[in-house]
Symmetry: C2
Subunit: 238 residues, 2 copies
């Protein structure tokens, strides 16, 4: 069921996100088609989709270029995500969540809690926390009752947020990072409580604060990465 075009799209997306393609570099239909040994048709489809995702830009009459991401782009993306996510939290609180949703959120929280209590090596801790964190956020976004929120989130600016996911952890200071994860975890706990009590305003405010913490942290991190030219890897976002 993986069409040629979709395969191309996901491969090139991964290349862009992981830095395999230089920002500002040009991509043309023919070059891409030749590179993957397919015809121009799937290459064209893939490029159109990637442009819709915001990973590449179309230059009139001169093909596409890989978008280069600035600090401002990342801040903007986080701000928009925060707005959408806090709306989702508010909506979910006001309409009430299903038992299945509550179970999922609780499960995510249990996972992060046990991870933070244990003394597993740092990298495993990070991966586990990251996975549970993604589930928590995606559940709220996707199951909040406003499908347009998820629809919107899915098709905007994959690039800044994807970059973010791979950047946001400072392995040089694990102790501080662990503290940060604990703060995030506690915010999840509060969020779940607000959702249970169907307190829309509180859920919204808490989610906003939660996202804002990400923003501040990301800003700090982006400065570090962009100015020093070093790159730190590891999973985990807010």
């Amino acid at each position: 069921m993986h069409s040629s075009a979709q395969h191309l799209q996901s491969v090139v997306r991964r290349q862009i996100v992981t830095g395999g393609r230089e920002p500002g570099a040009r991509i043309s239909e023919v070059a891409l088609a030749a590179e993957f040994d397919v015809s121009r048709t799937p290459a064209r489809t893939a490029l159109a989709s990637l442009e819709a995702e915001g990973l590449i830009e179309k230059r009139e009459g001169r093909g596409y270029t890989i978008r280069s991401i600035s600090k401002a782009d990342i801040s903007n993306a986080i701000a928009v995500r925060a707005a959408l996510e806090s709306l989702a939290a508010k909506t979910l609180a006001e309409t009430g969540m299903s038992d299945a949703v509550e179970a999922t959120l609780l499960s995510s929280i249990s996972t992060t809690e046990s991870i933070l209590e244990s003394d597993t090596p740092v990298q495993e801790l990070l991966d586990g926390y990251h996975a549970a964190n993604v589930i928590f956020h995606e559940t709220i976004m996707l199951k909040c009752g406003n499908d347009l929120i998820a629809h919107t989130f899915e098709r905007i600016a994959m690039l800044p947020l994807a970059k973010l996911g791979s950047l946001v952890f400072d392995t040089t200071n694990p102790r501080r990072e662990r503290m940060r994860l604990m703060v995030g975890h506690s915010q999840h706990v509060i969020l779940l409580d607000a959702l249970r009590q169907r307190d829309g305003a509180r859920a919204e405010a808490m989610m906003r604060e939660h996202s804002h913490a990400t923003l501040n942290y990301a800003d700090l991190f982006v400065r570090k990465v962009y100015e020093n030219g070093t790159r730190t890897t590891g999973g985990g976002k807010s």
Copy 2:
């Protein structure tokens, strides 16, 4: 410079938005290509773009269908728009607006003020108010300093918002409508003041309230339209 695909896209979009195509109706590459006497290539491109805009849905193996819009869809669209717009207002307030932006907003407010003070026929009043209102909102969205907001807004769910624009005015009660426009105008005035003082929280709260008024009104209106089957025309949204 009007490519075949773009032309197709805009024509079909207009057809969908104005009701020229029945919600739920199927639309296929071949049918569209035959109808406009072009090949499948631009038809495919146009359909893909329309799907990204949320105007049509892809049914696996069974072409596309025109999306049918529910009350919930419209409420969802307004909620998302409110979230994005209040973020834009906050951002613009915090970063400070340029003189050009301030002049544009002031001009829009002057226009609505003079319209509300005059005794022109109702329809003219509506058209003028509507135009000035659109300028006010678009200026804030587009010039707020976060380009992703406008980018996001442009490519999500054209349908519910477009429908909204043509629905939101009750010509059977002009007096009450005039009062409503005055409330909207006063909110614009307050908003401009908050922007001038660079009070992000106040601008955000005011814009949220402003959008929320639209939501309540639209809800009332959608009920009327959908339950009575009647349709009221006229420009003007909150």
